[in-house]
């Protein structure tokens, strides 16, 4: 067995599609709790009633950026509209289109033959690779365990009115939405559409940008400068880049403007007496919240900064990677290497790096 992927979510699934360029299903083991790679995403998208992806045509799980979802959508609809849309960066696949894409890939890629329903709780470096919690030794391991948990503000824990946006919920007649990112913006519109009166509570004004981070950070154009930053500067840059944001556009602005004139939407500084408080506050941050990563850091004395594990540019853990073996991270834990690591494009970037390590391995 050549490689193992710890985590069966979308980041692990995207990495699997890339590894399949070089390895057979029998040479890859995927460890995870659910065999449906989109299970978590599906739950979260359903909870916030998300209909369109924030990502664009290349927000998919294939190893190459072409053909993107715009191309397949154009073929399926027999229309050039998706292609014209993607030329103007205005194509966003629907959640259903994306889930169908994942389903098709899952069926044809051999995913089921590689998947092992098991939770890996500890990774230990040994001669010739890494021992995975009694599941065997692997020369190359990619850890893609995803977000470690939902973030609920301290003051709202135990408040019976509070619900996290990514937990299933309906809307009360008066709703306070805490947060300023895409989930919060989606909740504002959902609650207004459900007839609720909405209060937005946020610590800062949300940024408006099409993607999670500025576009140049998806390529070497922006990454080279980012990778040259020292640990302190890079941490500060990451905090700035990862500030809550949602896309610009009338589809977001007009309903809010209308609701404001009707006194159904307002911004306040603190949670008031609403019947329901929706915490659109994303996920907890930092490796310490992930038991597997915390154990990895403790066992191998890995270098960390502000909750991030220090990584090479391609997501590899430098202290545990050499010419004969690779331990790399993907997904949100790899933002030290790629600020948008929690996106599909980020998962692909890190998968490419991992495959590159395997290909250049002397003992492969």
């Amino acid at each position: 067995m050549q490689a193992a992927i710890v985590g069966s979510g979308l980041a692990g699934f995207t990495a699997y599609q890339t590894l399949r360029r070089a390895l057979a299903p029998e040479e890859i083991a995927v460890f995870g709790a659910e065999d449906d790679p989109a299970a978590t995403f599906r739950r979260h998208a359903a909870a916030i009633r998300q209909r369109e992806m924030r990502s664009e045509s290349d927000g998919h799980c294939l190893p190459t950026s072409f053909p993107g979802l715009a191309f397949s959508s154009a073929v399926r609809r027999r229309s050039a509209r998706p292609l014209l849309g993607t030329l103007c960066d205005r194509f966003h696949p629907t959640v259903d289109e994306f889930l169908a894409h994942v389903g098709r890939l899952r069926d044809r890629s051999g995913w089921e033959r590689s998947f092992r329903p098991a939770a890996v709780e500890r990774i230990r470096a040994v001669d010739g690779g890494f021992e995975l919690d009694g599941h065997g030794t692997f020369r190359h391991v990619l850890v893609a365990t995803g977000h470690p948990g939902l973030n609920v503000p301290e003051e709202l824990r135990g408040d019976p009115r509070a619900v996290h946006s990514y937990d299933a919920h309906d809307y009360a007649p008066s709703v306070t939405v805490v947060g300023a990112g895409l989930a919060a913006a989606t909740e504002w519109l959902n609650a207004l559409a459900a007839g609720s009166e909405v209060v937005s509570v946020r610590r800062r004004e949300p940024l408006r940008r099409p993607l999670n981070v500025p576009r140049e950070y998806f390529s070497r154009r922006g990454l080279d400068g980012f990778h040259r930053l020292g640990p302190g500067e890079r941490s500060a840059r990451l905090h700035a880049l990862l500030a809550p944001s949602y896309p610009p556009g009338r589809a977001w602005d007009e309903p809010l403007a209308t609701a404001m004139t009707e006194d159904r939407y307002r911004v306040e500084q603190s949670v008031n007496g609403s019947e329901q408080v929706i915490c659109a506050t994303g996920f907890v941050h930092g490796y310490a919240h992930d038991a597997l990563l915390a154990g990895l850091v403790a066992d191998h004395d890995l270098e960390t900064v502000d909750g991030w594990i220090i990584l090479d540019c391609d997501g590899a853990v430098p202290a545990l990677t050499d010419e004969t073996r690779t331990l790399a991270l993907a997904g949100v834990a790899a933002q030290w290497a790629f600020p948008a690591a929690d996106t599909l494009a980020g998962a692909r970037y890190l998968a490419h790096g991992f495959l590159g390590r395997i290909r250049s391995c002397r003992t492969r």
């Binding site: 890339t18 360029r21 290349d58 190893p63 190459t64 950026s65 072409f66 053909p67 993607t86 030329l87 103007c88 960066d89 500025p214 576009r215 140049e216 998806f218 390529s219 070497r220 154009r221 922006g222 990454l223 080279d224 494009a345 692909r348 970037y349 490419h352 495959l355």
Partner: protein
């Protein structure tokens, strides 16, 4: 896509390889070098813009931007081609550019990402493929340049003094006359790709005869005393420039006659001085541009474009013609711009038209000076004269 500078350059050069190969094939088919010259200009303009403008202006370049940027590059390439004297048919040059642009878009959006997994995140960099493409493009251009150099026609210097003709040229060569070199009895061009430069011709049935060949250039020649035509072109493609044709005393011969070469592309008469003869400059069934010439004292028309010819008559000065100054005749299509026609005398063809369109011809007139003639302009026998601005080379 957020290109790095290296990514821009590598992507452009790699996408250029099929274009330069196509240009080489086109050059081989057409026996002309303009496709390779145009391709080299395309690459040069693109790289210059990449380095000087695009990299600084666009941290991120959306897909739609390729269209206006492509139009900008096309305009610059065409302007440079004109400035550098690359004689390319406009339609073919635009088609070559458009084909190259389309190929580059297909490669950037589909071909390169499929070939190189990390193409997008590497900002368009292609790694070894980029280096190989640069070597290939450079090698093809260098090979084309070396071939052009090796295939240059031999230069034959004609010494000062009188050489008895007729001189028959049967191979591709450049014949350059030293000051005072005169050929008596005419020159006959019987090979393609011949250039005759700075030679004086005296006498002969035709001063210079060019038939059944292509790529002939007559530059700075001087013709006098021809019994029939001064410069006689049949079924051949020519460029005649900076010439002097003296036909005074010859009432029936033509100064310059270019005929029956419709299928050989555009011919050109530019910067010549023609005196005397029946017609100063005439074309029959020909696509020719007649530009910046001085024609005077002809026994009939100054310039005639006839027998289903097409072409531009521009910036010429016609004096003292008989009957018609500029004639568009016999189902021809003529763009007549910025010419000066004066002192046309009444003659066998009419009362002295500055410009006349006749026998189902179409003449488009723009900013000509025709006032000093008995009749400024006219259209007869189902012909049409319009006065709208048409496409102009000017």
């Amino acid at each position: 896509m957020s290109y790095t500078l290296r990514g821009r350059i590598e992507s452009r050069v790699a996408a250029f390889v099929p274009v330069v190969l196509a240009a080489c094939v086109l050059a081989a088919v057409e026996h002309r070098w303009w496709p390779v010259e145009a391709a080299a200009l395309m690459l040069g303009v693109g790289l210059a813009l990449d380095v000087q403008a695009y990299h600084r202006l666009f941290r991120y370049q959306p897909g739609w931007a390729a269209l206006p940027l492509g139009a900008l590059e096309l305009a610059l390439v065409l302007a440079l081609m004109r400035a550098a004297g690359v004689a390319a048919p406009l339609g073919q040059a635009v088609a070559l550019f458009a084909g190259g642009w389309l190929v580059s878009q297909l490669l950037a959006h589909a071909g390169f990402p499929l070939r190189r997994l990390t193409y997008s995140e590497d900002g368009g960099e292609l790694g070894r493929l980029g280096e190989a493409a640069a070597v290939a493009a450079g090698a093809v251009l260098a090979a084309a340049g070396a071939t052009a150099y090796a295939l240059r026609p031999p230069v034959v210097h004609l010494a000062s003094g009188v050489h008895q003709g007729p001189m028959v040229i049967t191979r591709r060569e450049v014949l350059v006359g030293e000051p005072g070199a005169v050929v008596r009895g005419g020159i006959v061009v019987r090979a393609s790709g011949v250039t005759v430069k700075n030679v004086s011709v005296v006498g002969g049935d035709y001063g210079i005869s060019v038939e059944h060949v292509h790529g002939t250039v007559l530059d700075g020649v001087s013709v006098s005393g021809a019994r029939l035509d001064g410069i006689h072109v049949r079924l051949a493609g020519v460029v005649v420039k900076n010439c002097t044709v003296d036909m005074l005393g010859n009432e029936l011969g033509q100064g310059i006659d270019i005929s029956y070469n419709m299928d050989m592309g555009m011919s050109m008469v530019e910067g010549c001085t023609v005196t005397g003869g029946m017609d100063g400059i005439t074309t029959h069934s020909s696509m020719s541009d007649i530009v910046r010439n001085q024609v005077s004292r002809t026994t009939e028309r100054g310039i005639s474009v006839t027998e289903m010819s097409m072409g531009t008559v521009m910036d010429n000065e016609v004096r003292d013609a008989s009957g018609i100054g500029i004639w568009c005749n016999d189902r021809s299509m003529c763009m007549i711009e910025h010419n000066t026609v004066v002192d046309t005398r009444p003659g066998r063809d009419g009362p002295g038209f500055g410009v006349l369109a006749s026998f189902q011809s179409e003449a488009n007139l723009w900013e000509n000076e025709l006032g000093a003639n008995p009749v400024a302009s006219g259209a007869i026998t189902q012909s049409e004269v319009s006065r709208a601005r048409s496409f102009s080379y000017r």
